[in-house]
């Protein structure tokens, strides 16, 4: 059964839909946590510490965090592998294009594939920058996320990479959320307006919320 599922184009799309929704759920939680940056270093660093002791005393130190990381990595990998295999198939299904080609789909729909690649690259940079500190500008301090965030957004390239990636994320979520609903069979004529509004709302809230952090650093609200 699992094999039938994975081998079908519909099954792979369902995998993409479910993993996409898991990632959207994570983005919402991640944004809510990040908003603590506007309440000072104490609150934000305290939140960072809590992530490590999440689930205690049942869970050992950092276990909660690692469980979340494993789920997320699995979601990203399954999403990307499905997308890659489906895209290869889609390109093969139209070996010869039209001489008279028209770009008709919305920008968000047309950029799902390359937008996804941009997001994957962003995630790698984001982890190297603020989790491991490998590419961090100006002395990465373990356990001082507030200062690390301020350092990142004090560089022009940190701001540019982040804001471009968040705009790409917003568009990806806008088409992705609505598409996931259709793929999972939850859409209908009567529900479409609500689903489109939710997709747009999610995209705008997530994009604006995350971009507010570099803007906060640039304007000196966070320093």
């Amino acid at each position: 059964m699992a094999l039938t599922f994975w081998q079908s184009t519909l099954g792979k799309k369902i995998v993409m839909g479910v993993t996409g929704l898991i990632m959207i759920g994570y983005l919402c939680a991640h944004l809510l946590g990040n908003m603590k940056i506007f309440f000072g270093p104490g609150e934000f660093n305290g939140y960072g510490h809590w992530l490590r002791v999440m689930g205690a005393p049942v869970l050992h130190h950092q276990w909660g965090l690692w469980i979340a990381r494993i789920v997320l990595v699995a979601a990203v990998v399954l999403h990307a592998v499905s997308a890659y295999q489906l895209s290869r198939r889609d390109i093969k299904a139209r070996p010869q294009g039209y001489v008279h080609a028209k770009p008709r789909m919305s920008y968000a729909t047309r950029t799902m594939r390359w937008g996804g690649v941009i997001l994957a690259l962003f995630i790698v940079w984001h982890i190297l920058d603020l989790t491991t500190g490998t590419t961090h500008s100006g002395g990465f301090q373990e356990g001082h996320p507030y200062q690390n965030v301020v350092d990142t957004f004090s560089t022009w390239y940190g701001n540019v990479i982040y804001i471009v990636a968040m705009l790409a994320m917003g568009m990806h979520v806008q088409h992705g959320f609505w598409s996931a609903a259709q793929t999972l069979g939850a859409g209908s004529r009567s529900r479409d307006r609500a689903l489109k509004a939710t997709a747009n709302g999610l995209a705008i809230l997530l994009t604006a919320g995350f971009i507010s952090i570099p803007v906060g650093v640039m304007t000196g609200v966070v320093s």
Binding site: G11, K13, D90, A93, V99, K102, R104, Q182, T183
Partner: protein
Amino acid sequence: MKLTLRVWRQKNADTPGAMATYQLDGVSQDMSFLEMLDILNEELIVKGEEPVAFDHDCREGICGACSLVINGDAHGPERTTTCQLHMRSFQDGDTIDIEPWRASAFPVIKDLVVDRSAFDRVIQAGGFITAPTGAAPEAHATPVPKADADFAFEHAECIGCGACVAACPNGAAMLFTSAKVNHLNVLPQGSPERETRVLDMVSQMDAEGFGGCTLTGECATACPKGIPLFSITAMNKEWLRATRKVKR
């Protein structure tokens, strides 16, 4: 009307094709698009050239035989079949690009004619009901709720022309397959094969080499019969339900 036509010419499946340019004068606005091509072919025959091959049958918009991607649109600028498209939709002096459906599952046979038998095989996989042969049964013996009858009819309108595949950037046959699945799955007559139908038709659709759905909505925009994009959503729901019910 005086027109410049750029038409895809291809001798056969094994020979590479190319766009050829023709000038056509004396086209009436009241002609259908196919009548305009008939005029072109008459001129070509008089000149001793090979006429342009294209599919057509009823010319009433109900059989699904005609095709053609006209200026990048499947069935042209109006939401109808090519046979019901009229030259009044174009301007005097226009250049019109005419191409065949493009999909690896629909190989070109000649010029603008493609092989759409992949659709027949998708139907053979499950687009039927198990019915006893013999005299027609009493129509009122099987009650069908009005809402279900309307839903079935909306999907039964699909004429299998393949415009959805031609318009889809992925060459996907999701709208065709979903129309056929939904049409029968909602009716009591189709319920004995409800699960196997959707599983078998989808796996045949994949086996034919059609692409996957990325929900661009191009298929539903191009469909001359107005099959809605939600047809695909409904099929996804049926497929998920069937994978849970049928153990394979």
